[in-house]
């Protein structure tokens, strides 16, 4: 007897949470697409953004719109600054160098946050109701709906940006072939900065949404670990891939928790996406939408 209601519940929960994962993965993809840099500190970016907004509201009593602006501005500045100070020096170095640099950055942020803003959990109140919206058999928490909406909106904005605007096209050129872009007169370094700033924006949005969902403290950075299955499945440098990857991870997680957990005593939810990821890596390493890299000697 298959419980359709429960399956539908799990599915809807999975879709919504998956889109929220995509929001974080988008930050990762933006950076990788434009600068070939792998950001292991994506979760920490979200955490710092959440801290800034939450502290602005609770400690300084700022109204929500002001706090959000401060958060956005702060993260944009942070992105530009980071690129300038640290990442510019690591251009051209092997993969492990950038990976470890972002791991180091993650450690710095994880120590910085609680040191400056205290270790307690801060709540990030948004003017949305706490009670779930009931649509037939489905329970939809408003915050998840908001998160999913933000995610899709950002996807739309990014698509417009990359397809239509001059800056976006320039960034795609930089991502495609740096040398040629430079030869065409595009200031590559400035676009790197812009890419990190865009990551800052999406991290700020992620920080607000996830901060409301989970509360803001140092543990918020752990959502960053979810990024990897999402981007591997979707393709490291593909924006629609981040959305699709997020959906897959969200649905798989929930289905695993609902249907496999009872047989194995729990806990499959966390590593089911990783198993899927390994299979994907063996079969189609570049993800569903990713660009295949052809190696030449």
């Amino acid at each position: 007897m298959f419980d359709w209601q429960f399956a539908a519940l799990l599915l809807s929960n999975g879709i919504l949470i998956g889109l929220m994962y995509s929001l974080i993965a988008l930050g990762f993809v933006l950076v990788y697409k434009a600068t070939d840099a792998i950001n292991f500190a994506q979760g920490e970016f979200v955490m710092i953004a959440g801290f800034v907004v939450a502290v602005a509201i609770t400690a300084y009593g700022a109204p929500l719109w002001l706090a959000v602006l401060v958060g956005l501005a702060g993260m944009i500045g942070f992105g530009f600054g980071l690129e300038r100070v640290m990442l510019r020096k690591l251009i051209g170095r092997p993969v492990i160098a950038v990976v470890m640099a972002t791991i180091g950055l993650a450690a710095i942020l994880r120590g910085f946050g609680p040191m400056v803003w205290g270790a307690g959990t801060k709540s990030l109140a948004l003017p949305i109701p706490e009670e779930p919206i009931i649509l037939g058999p489905l329970f939809i928490p408003p915050i998840q709906l908001l998160g999913a909406a933000v995610s899709l909106l950002f996807l739309a904005a990014c698509s417009w940006f990359f397809l239509r605007s001059r800056r976006g096209i320039a960034m795609r050129a930089v991502a495609d072939n740096q040398q040629v872009a430079m030869a065409m007169g595009i200031d590559v370094e400035r676009y790197f900065g812009l890419a990190w700033a865009m990551t800052g924006i999406v991290s700020a949005l992620g920080g607000i949404v996830w901060g409301n969902l989970l509360g803001v403290d140092v543990q918020l950075s752990l959502v960053g670990l979810k990024v990897f299955p999402v981007v591997i499945l979707g393709g490291l440098d593909s924006i629609p891939g981040a959305i699709v990857g997020g959906l897959i991870v969200g649905i798989v997680e929930n289905m695993a928790a609902g249907y496999i957990d009872p047989y194995v005593g729990g806990g499959t939810k966390d590593f089911a996406p990783y198993v899927l990821m390994i299979i994907a890596l063996m079969v189609r390493p570049y993800g569903i939408f990713g660009k295949a890299i052809i190696e030449r000697i």
Partner: protein, 408 residues
């Protein structure tokens, strides 16, 4: 060359001179993590611990000896815990307050070999309640086994005295500490005839939507027993509320029981009805807390803000107090003040009827029972604050005792 040698010699002398010449000073090793996954606990518990020690020293110490509590933060990691333990040994600590389940596991053998008593209140190895098997480990407060029994008893009372055929959901943090209550729960399941399903929340425990949905919509549990730590209790409260599960049918273990958890869940309004077990009192209405406030007032300083998080702060006070009590007992036996770990252990085992002005249940530690009774209270979120629901009680002692005996 000569100048360098002279400089080195001078430096060595200076370093030697800096070493503290502690006359009548007794050292307690206080491991307390203000960072790491349990930082919400540590940032409030550690000040409580330190404040009580300060109070004791201000009142003249114990029989004239000042107590020095060396606080160290291990970030909930094991190698720093081992290193700081070795440091405490070097400083001559007579007791160690261990913080964290993996840490107490790692240090169990060392504490026993070095014969220094270590405490692990409300966490750690539940089997260590058996003082004959673990002579130097002192849980001194309800272990996870006692807590499980108490939670089941509370659930039974809430469901009208009988659990036959009822469905209990046990949601837990998916690590060894979270799984420790299984033996007790399974025994009680047989005894009381209820149906139980377990729902694991994998670390870091910030996402449990599917499990909560399952509990509320598919399994439709009659009662939820929750054993979560860190951030997950508040997330659980929020999620259960979101799927419309009545929080008054939820009881949490001692580490999901604080003001911080309620606040992180969105406030007292959101968490209305949620109950949790405590092994120390909640709130500021206790004589020892008032004394600490007086102490701060005398110094002209405002009372510490950590006091507001009274659940953890009070536990810190209790922890310090029981160490001091053990030392007091040890000094009674050896008035010359030269006590060692062995004396402190004996001191712990002499503790009887220790209530700290009502802050804790009457604790009695004996050479065979290092848990002290395993008593807890249930407090519930009601009308904007934590309200006491039951008195100190201990549940199913025979079942817990049996599980302890059968433990390896």
């Amino acid at each position: 060359m000569r100048a360098t040698l002279a400089l080195l010699a001078a430096a060595a002398l200076a370093l030697g001179a800096v070493a503290p010449a502690a006359a009548a000073e007794i050292v307690i090793g206080a491991q307390c993590d203000r960072t790491g996954p349990t930082q919400t606990v540590g940032t409030n518990l550690c000040p409580g611990f330190n404040d009580y020690i300060k109070l004791v020293n201000m009142k003249g110490g114990v029989n004239g000896n000042t107590i020095r509590a060396d606080e160290v933060d291990n970030e909930y990691k094991v190698p720093p815990a081992v290193e700081s333990y070795e440091r405490y040994k070097k400083e001559g600590a007579v007791t160690v307050s261990v913080y964290g389940t993996p840490q107490i596991y790692a240090l169990t053998q060392k504490l026993t070999e070095d014969r220094i008593p270590g405490t692990s209140p409300g966490f750690g190895k539940a089997a260590a309640a058996d003082g004959t098997k673990y002579p130097y480990i002192f849980p001194i407060a309800a272990t996870y086994w006692s807590q499980a029994a108490a939670a089941v008893k509370y659930a039974k009372d809430q469901m009208g005295g009988s659990m036959k055929g009822k469905k209990i959901a046990y949601i837990f943090y998916d690590n060894p500490a979270g799984r420790e209550p299984f033996p007790v729960l399974e025994e009680l399941q047989k005894l009381e005839g209820f149906e139980m399903r377990t729902f694991a929340v994998p670390p870091p425990g910030v996402e449990m939507g599917a499990q909560v949905l399952d509990i509320a919509q598919r399994y439709r549990a009659d009662f939820v027993i929750s054993h979560l730590f860190g951030r997950s209790p508040s997330v659980a409260i929020k999620e259960l509320k979101r799927v419309g599960y009545p929080l008054k049918k939820v009881v949490g273990f001692v580490w999901g029981a604080a003001e911080a958890d309620v606040e992180a869940a969105g406030g007292y309004g959101v968490a209305e009805g949620y109950s949790a077990l405590q092994f120390a009192g909640v709130g500021e209405d206790y004589p020892v807390i008032k004394e600490i406030k007086e102490m701060y007032k005398k110094e002209g300083k405002p009372e510490p803000k950590e006091m507001k998080e009274s659940v953890y702060y009070n536990r810190g006070v209790f922890l310090a107090a029981i160490h001091v009590e053990a030392i007091r007992n040890a000094l009674k036996a050896k008035p010359d003040g030269k006590i060692t770990g062995v004396d402190a252990k004996a001191g712990f085992e002499k503790i009887k009827n220790f209530t700290l002005g009502g802050l804790v249940p009457p604790i009695e530690i004996t050479p065979t029972d290092h848990e002290g009774g395993g008593l807890v209270q249930v407090w519930q979120v009601s009308g904007g604050k934590w309200v006491k629901r039951t008195d100190w009680f201990r549940a199913y002692p025979e079942v817990v005792g049996k599980v302890i005996k059968e433990a390896k």
